[in-house]
């Protein structure tokens, strides 16, 4: 119980801290702990997934770069492949109320049903706390946390920064590569890449 309380206050402090600046999650360091509400109203902690690989995907369904990857089916394919490997895929929506991409839980679930997206959960972050804790800058912006809780990857979904679907096949799929390396127990070769896309629509 004592441990729990301590951990909880640490988490609270960690979430409350980055009120102003973008914090930064560092590759090879422990991924910042968080507690967040999902689209179906549950509370999840990063710690709940200890022992599993976790993918965090910042998203904004109206952003052209997000549309590139959902419209082409690329994102759904990656989500399915991840689920099949036992990887927990979490969408994060950090758009502030009134900003592009902001949705409530029901709308977020409907979007995923319509698009055939299969994340393990969608985290609602309208205050941008989780986004700022990780330093999420773009949609999409992806993070991969290893089973031991260390951050193994952060950056873009692939190597070609464009909103053009035709580029997906030509691009180096960074997240797929990272997940493959982790599954094989290898070091992730490109562990920090340039994220590309729309800016995360934080309340400014």
């Amino acid at each position: 119980m004592k441990m729990n309380l301590l951990r909880r206050s640490l988490i609270a402090a960690a979430v409350a801290m980055p009120a102003l600046a973008l914090a930064n999650a560092n590759v090879d360091a422990a991924a910042p702990a968080f507690s967040a509400t999902t689209a179906d109203g549950k509370t999840v902690n990063l710690a709940d997934y200890k022992g599993k690989t976790v993918v965090l995907e910042w998203t904004n369904h109206d952003c052209p770069y997000v549309k590139k990857h959902y419209g082409s089916g690329n994102m759904q394919t990656q989500q399915k492949a991840a689920a099949a490997q036992g990887v927990v895929w979490l969408q994060v929506i950090s758009s502030a109320p009134g900003q592009q991409g902001f949705v409530d839980g029901a709308a977020a679930q409907k979007l995923n049903t319509d698009r055939g997206a299969v994340p393990a959960a969608t985290l609602l972050d309208p205050k941008g706390e989780l986004g700022k804790l990780y330093g999420a800058q773009t949609t999409p912006h992806l993070y991969v946390v290893k089973a031991d809780g260390t951050l193994a990857y952060k950056g873009g979904i692939d190597s070609i920064a464009s909103a053009d679907k035709n580029d997906i096949a030509k691009a180096e799929p960074y997240v797929t590569q990272a997940l493959a390396a982790i599954a094989a127990g290898r070091k992730v070769e490109k562990a920090s890449t340039r994220p590309y896309g729309c800016s995360v629509k934080y309340a400014s």
């Binding site: 560092n26 090879d28 900003q99 592009q100 464009s162 053009d164």
Partner: protein, 694 residues
């Protein structure tokens, strides 16, 4: 159309030319784009300029080469012509919440050099096509795309277009290579970019690749008389050591804003910044060795020269002259020269070691820190008093003090030389700050080994003239002939020593109040009495013991000395000064009042000189009064962690530091360490520079 007739041939050569020339203008929902050519007729093989002008809907923006945290640079894919890289005008900062982007609002023009194919035939047409893509954002982002084209007649002789002047105007907005060199130095937060431009009030560096610099982090400017330095935190993809960091530096001076392209090799050991721990390791390129010491070598050279100059300081010169006069008298002095050098170097090494230990213990240390201790001030005062008495002829230095317990004359001489070196180093320290500020500030921010190297270079500089005299008999000929004048000269030199003692007692008075001064003066009397007793007893053993005992007793007095409570004496020079505190500054700035901050210490000679010659001059006081400036003075005579932190924040390790906060200015303007009335008046009368628009 004529070109239609050539279709079969052209289709083989260049398929895109198949199409009719694309229009030079096109509009999307947010941007009107057009191509503007510098020539209305082009010649085969000619290079000419084409501008892509974007007329962007207000409040929307497109992106620069490096778009920053998000966004995407505009691209132009040419067909039908060989095209150079895009020449980008100076971008501006677009901050959206915590995300920082680099781009353009309004009507930017990107320039490209096109080359007409050498085999183009006069009489034909030159019809290159540009596929232009951009991302345009406000709170949301829209990728847009247009196809633009030129349709120009090919002629034997090129003809400039009516738009040449417009293109020249656009070209003026494109930063040129800097006419000066910039340096990159490793720093804890990442690296520091510096250049020689004077009077910079604002600066911003746009790295031209993503991740080289953390885009959203503030870039702290240090402007000094000799130039500017900008602290840059490393981003998520730092430049490897030895590889160049390049980009655009924007400098704001009283002459206006200027932008230059700059590039400098990344030094070894640059901080990784907050976001990139452990990313780089496996692929770090081997750095070219000559580049890795860029910061260290100038600092060492500066320290050496600074040490040389120290020899001329009023506090050091008399000490030196004791030994120099000895050289005139005797023959071979190589050993003495070496002993003296060893004494100087040992002292500086000790000083460096103390600094390293203090720093390792987490102490905020700055140069001149020794003088924070009243005991140290008192000990130096005693020391200078003893030197003065010795010069006055009361006793022989080296023979009695340093050589106690030693019977061999030669050994006494060497020990004497060694301790003269120590003495020179000790009395030199108060004089160091004004000349050595830059090198010492550099040293204090460096690893222990570098710090030690800089201090040893300083010591070597101090010892060098004596060393040269000792080893190079020819130089000794430059010394005046020995004679009776030497004793008179020596006695005369006692007076600068006594004056220095008076100054130190005045410093002590600031630190400890009248009681401390009384104790110190009593100690001086004791020392004089002890020495007189020794002389009166014919330098007998008893007398010597008495002399030593009196010195020890005098030192014991120092234990009684207690610093008085921190009440600030604003000093007679500036009755109008208020006591400095960070809270007071924040309060005044919130009220939009101009604030001038003077961080000083009574042991800091250049601080006092600046107050006399500049800050307390009537014309400066008038300027302050006219502008309604609130004058705050912070006293670092005793260690004050709050002031040490402010010094550090502005890249200084010691006082003086002069800051001027214009009303509404985002940051303080840092004034040089040597002030003139004109300089101060100019600084406080120039209008606040507005923040760059976002």
């Amino acid at each position: 159309m004529l070109s239609f007739l050539r279709l079969p041939l052209l289709a083989l050569l260049a398929a895109p030319l198949l199409a009719l020339a694309a229009p030079p203008e096109a509009a999307t929902e947010h941007v009107k784009a057009r191509l503007v050519a510098s020539h209305s007729a082009v010649a085969p093989g000619q290079r000419f300029t084409v501008a892509l002008e974007q007329d962007i809907k207000s409040h929307w923006h497109t992106y620069w080469l490096n778009p920053g945290d998000s966004g995407q640079a505009t691209t132009i894919a040419w067909t039908g012509a060989e095209a150079g890289p895009i020449q980008w005008p100076t971008p501006s900062v677009q901050a959206i919440g915590p995300i920082v982007n680099y781009g353009y609002e309004g009507r930017p023009a990107l320039l490209v050099e096109l080359t007409v194919p050498a085999d183009a035939k006069p009489g034909g047409r030159f019809q290159p096509t540009a596929e232009v893509r951009w991302l345009v954002c406000k709170d949301v982002c829209i990728p847009e795309q247009v196809t633009l084209g030129l349709d120009l007649p090919v002629a034997a002789e090129a003809k400039a277009s009516a738009d040449t002047a417009q293109i020249d105007e656009w070209r003026a907005a494109i930063p040129k290579p800097a006419p000066f060199a910039v340096q990159l130095k490793a720093a804890p937060q990442g690296f520091t970019l510096s250049g020689p431009t004077a009077g910079v009030s604002k600066a911003y560096f746009f790295a031209d690749t993503w991740g080289a610099v953390a885009h959203s982090a503030p870039q702290a400017l240090k402007a000094e008389a000799g130039g500017w330095a900008l602290d840059l935190p490393a981003g998520d993809e730092p430049v490897a050591a030895g590889k160049p960091l390049s980009g655009v530096i924007v400098l704001m001076t009283s002459a206006g804003q200027q932008a230059w392209t700059v590039s400098a090799p990344m030094p070894e050991g640059a901080g990784k910044g907050p976001g990139a721990a452990g990313v780089e390791a496996p692929t770090a390129a081997p750095a070219a060795p000559p580049q890795s010491d860029l910061g260290l070598l100038p600092a060492l050279a500066l320290a050496l020269v600074g040490g040389l100059i120290l020899n001329l300081m009023p506090c050091v010169f008399p000490v030196l002259s004791i030994k120099a006069l000895a050289l005139v008298r005797e023959g071979n002095h190589k050993a003495e020269g070496l002993a003296y050098t060893a004494g100087v170097l040992a002292s500086f090494a000790l000083l460096a070691a103390v600094l390293i230990v203090l720093r390792a213990g987490g102490q905020q240390v700055g140069w001149g820190f020794q003088f924070h201790s009243p005991v140290f001030v008192l000990v130096v005062a005693y020391l200078l008093f003893l030197v003065g008495l010795s010069l006055s002829g009361l006793f022989e230095i080296g023979g009695s003090i340093a050589g106690v317990g030693s019977s061999l004359a030669a050994k006494q001489g060497l020990a004497g030389s060694f301790f003269t070196g120590v003495l020179a180093a000790v009395v030199a320290t108060p004089c160091t700050a004004p000349f050595m500020g830059a090198a010492l500030a550099f040293a204090l921010s460096q690893p222990a080994a570098v710090l030690l190297a800089v201090f040893l270079a300083l010591g070597l500089g101090l010892a060098l003239p004596f060393l040269v005299l000792a080893f190079w008999p020819a130089a000794q000929r430059w010394l005046p002939r020995p004679g009776a004048w030497m004793d008179k000269f020596k006695q005369f030199l006692a007076f600068p020593m006594y004056a220095a003692v008076v100054w130190l007692l005045w410093v002590l008075a600031q630190q400890t109040g009248p009681d401390g001064v009384a104790l110190a003066l009593f100690g001086l009397v004791l020392i004089a009495f002890g020495l007189w007793w020794r002389n009166a007893s014919g330098a007998s053993a008893v007398g010597t013991v008495a002399a030593v005992a009196s010195v020890v007793l005098a030192l014991g007095v120092s234990v009684l000395i207690k610093p008085v409570a921190a009440d600030l004496r604003a000093g007679s020079a500036n009755e109008a000064a208020e006591a400095y505190s960070a809270e007071r500054v924040a309060e005044l700035r919130a009220q939009n009042k101009p604030v001038f901050v003077n961080l000083t210490a009574s042991w800091c000679i250049s601080c006092l000189v600046n107050e006399r010659v500049a800050l307390s001059r009537p014309e400066v006081k008038d300027a302050f009064a006219k502008a309604g400036i609130v004058y705050l003075k912070g006293d670092w005579t005793r260690e004050d962690p709050a002031i040490t932190a402010v010094l550090k924040a502005h890249g200084r390790s010691g006082v003086p530091l002069y800051l001027y906060y214009a009303p509404g200015a985002a940051e303080a303007q840092v004034l040089p360490q040597i002030l003139t009335p004109g300089l101060v008046i100019e600084a406080v009368s120039s209008p606040a520079t507005p923040r760059s628009s976002t």
